[in-house]
């Protein structure tokens, strides 16, 4: 019922919005939101803020670029029903590997390690020409054509992103309730106690990162279709920080915050030019981030939830008093 309220307008969007709003705002926010969801999933359930999610998305994106049609003459062409699973497989494997490297690290240490891994991957893509085609990367990537429609077609890509986002959200909530998900939350709450009980921490941590790789990979595939190119800049510090900002603005306590953060980010990014000098976007977004961290550390999602709760309480109150009135 609640989901329906949310789903109906979302499904109706393509029939209401023009191409600019649909593609530049809605689809872009969904894709960024999916990647940010992989971050807020780790933050919410494992308690680890990972800076390597763009790396995981990038690995999936590069796989699509390498095994798909592109205009730089690098790679092997494979049908999309091979390249898509391959892309997800690589991002999941890379996620597991990063989880393994960072298995003993928590808090700020995990931040630093994942950041270092992300930056190392960025440098690697710039230096490697055989697979990543150096800093120029891949361009002219075209999304597959299914039943006569390109998946890049505005409303098709929108629905595809919406479906992916919905599946990702469902998977996250299923994962969180599964035994492995509960183990992860135990690690988050008391890593030393879990270790003292003799339960190996490695498995849940690796599983969580691998799962986040799956979600980030989904975002990465959509993103490379959306952008129609990928290069070292797509996996650099800029996008790494962007995704972090999205997740933090949205709220690290709840996975859905990622999409809220993505909408705000995309709107600011698109319309900052009307607010302030286009060149000062970073000052604006930095200030927004700072204010959120200072006054609402749990992000917009929490603010929204609090507001809704307050409203409900008020309604409840007024409903009660109304009833009392009719009684008397």
């Amino acid at each position: 019922m609640k989901a329906g309220f949310l789903a109906l307008p979302l499904i109706a969007l393509p029939f209401v919005l023009n191409d600019f709003w649909l593609t530049q705002i809605a689809t872009r926010a969904l894709i960024l939101g999916i990647t940010a969801l992989s971050l807020s999933f780790l933050a919410t359930y494992l308690g680890v803020v990972s800076f390597a999610q763009i790396t995981l998305a990038g690995i999936a994106g590069y796989t699509i670029a390498y095994f798909g049609p592109n205009t730089v003459g690098v790679g092997i062409k494979l049908p999309f029903w091979v390249s898509i699973p391959a892309a997800l497989l690589f991002s999941v494997t890379a996620g597991a590997l990063i989880g393994y490297i960072a298995r003993r690290s928590r808090g700020i240490y995990a931040i630093m390690i994942t950041l270092a891994i992300g930056v190392a991957f960025f440098y690697f893509t710039r230096q490697n020409y055989a697979v990543f085609n150096g800093w120029t990367g891949f361009s002219g990537i075209t999304a597959p054509v299914v039943a006569g429609t390109s998946l890049r077609d505005p409303s098709t890509l929108y629905f595809l992103s919406l479906a992916t986002a919905a599946i990702a959200v469902v998977l996250v909530s299923l994962f969180a309730r599964a035994p492995l998900g509960l183990a992860i939350q135990a690690v988050r709450d008391a890593p030393s106690r879990v270790m003292a009980l003799g339960i190996p921490v490695t498995t849940p941590v690796v599983a969580a990162f691998a799962f986040s790789g799956l979600i980030a990979g989904g975002g990465g595939i959509l993103n490379v279709w959306y952008q129609e190119r990928i290069s070292s800049f797509s996996v650099g510090l800029g996008p790494i920080i962007d995704v972090l900002i999205i997740a933090v603005i949205g709220g690290l306590r709840h996975p859905l915050g990622a999409f809220l953060g993505a909408i705000v980010f995309v709107l600011l990014d698109t319309f900052a030019v009307d607010l302030i000098d286009r060149d000062r976007f970073n000052t604006l977004i930095g200030m927004v981030l700072l204010i959120i961290v200072m006054v609402a550390p749990n992000g917009l999602q929490q603010l929204a939830a609090d507001a809704v709760a307050k409203l409900r309480a008020k309604e409840h109150q007024s409903g009660k008093s109304a009833r009392i009135k009719t009684n008397t």
């Binding site: 803020v49 690290s105 931040i111 270092a116 970073n282 000052t283 977004i285 961290v293």
Partner: protein
């Protein structure tokens, strides 16, 4: 052989610069558990201010001092105004310092523009030396940079190991609550140490602008190198920062000379290896 010597010297130069940048970062982390992601931005701020002061007064030493001072003031303001209020919530501090770093970098880009700056050197530091024994020529400023790093390292060691203020800092690293229960205003000590660490970054910025050059992006470059250096050497240890800087600086230069394609990847490879074997870094204390 000649190449090897030059590369080694370059590695040591870079290590000296990395040490100057990372020592302040490590000092701040060691006492307050704050990962100051704005460290690179403070370094760049010091570099720009130092450049302006040298242009204005012609005094290189004054430039270094003012660069350090500007960064110290900015750092103290950041700690007193923002990070200090979140003390104990490390994640929040990290995120706030990322925000500060983004804003600072953008404001500096606005004020100083996207161009590259290089501080003009005083006469004694320009030109080069033919090194005795080694038989290679080397730029004076780079030799001065190495000497400066050694002097700063020794002074830091003296400050921390041999003075009363240093003993208070060490006590704070060991047990903050107990230090407070002995009447020490921890908030002010934090601000002082943050200013000190930032001053080191600011001076490193001026020196980087003298020996190399600075431009937008220098902030991230030194933030990342500081991160890697302290991860390798061990967070919070000045000796660890020195060792980490040596390893990373040399690895980077050897990598660049002998395996140019993957030089940087090589550096990060060392880091991942150390993390796998010794998560607290070579000279870091384990957390428990």
């Amino acid at each position: 052989m000649r190449l090897f010597l030059i590369v080694t010297l370059n590695g040591l130069t870079l290590a000296a610069l990395y040490f100057l940048a990372a020592s302040g970062f490590s000092l701040i982390f060691g006492l307050m558990r704050t990962v100051n992601m704005a460290h690179g931005a403070l370094l760049l701020l010091g570099g720009y201010v130092g450049y302006d002061v040298v242009e204005l007064t012609g005094s290189w030493m004054l430039g270094i001092a003012c660069g350090g001072l500007a960064a110290a003031l900015a750092g103290a303001a950041v700690q007193a105004g923002i990070l200090g209020w979140m003390q104990g919530d490390e994640l929040r501090q990290t995120l706030a310092s990322i925000a500060i770093s983004i804003v600072l970098a953008d404001l500096m880009l606005w004020y100083w523009g996207g161009i590259t700056y290089q501080v003009s050197l005083p006469d004694i530091l320009s030109g080069g030396q033919k090194l005795p024994l080694l038989g290679v020529g080397y730029a004076n400023i780079r030799l001065a940079l190495m000497a400066f790093a050694v002097v700063v390292g020794v002074m830091l060691w003296f400050l921390i190991q041999r003075t009363r203020f240093g003993a208070v800092i060490r006590a704070g690293v060991d047990d903050q609550d107990m230090l407070r229960a002995l009447g020490f205003p921890i908030g002010r000590i934090f601000i002082a140490v943050f200013a000190l660490g930032s001053a080191l970054a600011g001076m490193a910025g001026v020196i980087a602008a003298s020996a190399l050059s600075i431009s937008p992006g220098t902030d991230l470059q030194f933030l990342l190198s500081s991160l890697v250096v302290v991860i390798v050497g061990g967070m919070g240890s000045i000796g660890g920062a020195a060792l980490g800087a040596l390893l990373v600086g040399l690895a980077e230069q050897y990598g660049l000379a002998y395996a140019p394609t993957y030089g940087v990847v090589f550096t990060f490879g060392i880091m991942v290896l150390i993390l796998a074997v010794r998560p607290q870094g070579l000279m870091g204390r384990s957390e428990q």
